[in-house]
Amino acid sequence: MIKIDNTELQKLYIAFFGRPGDPSGINYWLSQANSNESLTLKKVSYELSIQAEYLQNILDNRSIESQINRFYINLFGRKSDFNCLNYLLDMVNNKQYYISDILYFLLYENHENQFVEPDQLDKDLFVLDNKVFAAKIFTQQINKSISLVNLYQPDSFSPWSSGDSFMKAAKFISNISSKKVTVQEVNTFINSLSDNPLNNPLNILTQPAIEMKNISLSIPIYCLENRSLSKSITEKVTNFTGGKLTESKNGTNIVALNNINLTIMKGERIALIGHNGSGKSSFLRLIAGIYKPTNGHIMIDVDVYPMLQKTFLTSPELTGIDACKAHYLLKHHCLSGFDKFLNEIIDFSGLGSYISLPIKTYSEGMSARLIFSILTSSPHDCLAIDEGFGTGDSDFTDRAEERMKKFMDSAATLFLASHSEELLKQFCNRGIVFSHGSIVFDGSLDAALNYYHTHDYYNKNVNK
């Protein structure tokens, strides 16, 4: 059986759609192949043949003959020869083959030996290799930046609308012939995808904000009880949540993060996805500098502002004004402009004269209003937000959501850990899926959510 890999998937994408595979699509099929051993290329070929992109954009009432010729043009840059076309038509008409089977047959069963001269066969293979090479480089380069991933997407999924970048990429691939394509040529083409050179994603997302190499984080459990935890507990009991438990001579450790390799560019907006205890919050604390890695190298070239829990710097015995002043002094180191800041907080939080009362007299909702108003009062370069950071009572929610949106939009780089897909889709474009402290998927948000929701994820990662 032919292995499902990037090369073979690119062949199918080129044949059906005439374009290189988009990173989320390629990653999706690769993850499916990893989790489902019974998945074959024939099945993938069939699935692609019934996708909206093919049915609505390309098929468009074409005859079988036209479809077969399109495969030939997309793959080899020429139409099918007469004998071969008849042979394939016969398969469809008399043996009831699907168009996806025809493509599989065309690619993998070397039928052309019967109809085509060896020279033509070599030429076809050479053209196909060139196209696949260019497609692989293209997808690889696109995958490096979330802005490029977003650029190389259809204009609309439902109803399907292909979009300019898909058509340009298809034209680029169709122009490839027997002349060898270089990486530089592919990069030049990617640069040309953006109309405005100033907005070229290749130019924007070139500065890494955070780089991690082989990062691991073990959390030691410093309590007497853990000394009595027998090895049998750490080894035999299945953990449905949380990082792996390990025993060392010093006691029990939780492997909160394991072998994380990641580059986050300035300007990226990252969704952290995963089950409870998968490592999202530990990751946020790590990039915020609250936790230090146990192993590996981390480079952080941005001020990460954590919003993890609602905590005040001052005692609850003190008033809201004191809390505001402490936060203001910590950020600005002086009280110049504090009155304006305080008025804005009072106005937005709606606390009114309660601001002069001790925080301990506030309801939970009032405390939430105050801390939310304080922390979102000024923009930050990079935010690390945990979903636990709520916005207070329902009356406040609408205003808070609007402010939170502005606040998150103002941050150049954003990390958001949440189980709310709506929230993630609103603010993020790259998704990182965590499981038991490891990154199991990293790609566009749609693909990451798709990966997270597949049954195999739960089987492989949660219930293992």
Binding site: Q309, L313, A326
Partner: protein
Amino acid sequence: MLINNLKFAYKTRRAWWYTATSRSRARFARTTLGSFWLGFSNLLSIGTLGIVYGTVFSVQDFRSYFMYLGVGLVIWNTISSSISNSPQLFAHNSSNIKNMNLKPLFYTFEEWSFQLQTFIQSFALVFFVFLFLKFSLLSNFLISSWMPLLNLFIFIYWFPLIVCLISVRFTDIAQLVPIVLQLVFLTSPILYRKESLGELAWITNINFIYKILDSLRISILKGDVNYQDSILILSVNLIGLFFTLKYLDKEAKRLPFLL
């Protein structure tokens, strides 16, 4: 790293001084006299203990004994309070330590300035009352006390911090702290004169806390400063400060997990 920490402490000085001031205000939030209670409570203790122990020790000169006891008690209370509060310092700030990327150094300086403010408020009132008994205390304090005072201020930063760091890792230490403090108090000439120890007077030579206390007390009461001793104490303080900050830097990595 040490320089960076000191830069951070300087940069955020207004914030930690303010939060410490807020704590002082919060402590007496519902009282009428507010932080004046710090001085009053000390005066009350001095008055009561002075009469009782002055009688027990058959003191001839009550006026000088009151001043001796008063200054000693105020300094001791500051040192004792700094050390006894220290094991819980990070525990009280655990939520912020786990959720904010503020260096732990911030909380240590906040605690230090809280103790400093408490000392200044306690000492000011007691000192003011003592000026009526002996006005020359003012000139003694202004001329002679700056170095012993500096030693006290440095000591109440680094020593409680090292106790705190050890206590966070080895929680049994926290249980020992009040016992040890009580023993140090009873074996230090604070309630009584050094001469009363007789042959056991040598134990004051190995009691570093007493050295800090006594040098400041003598400088205020008599205007005498043993600069050789003071420089030696300052050297020990600076070494202690250096190693404590290094230790804090090392332990900061583990701190969120220990709380």
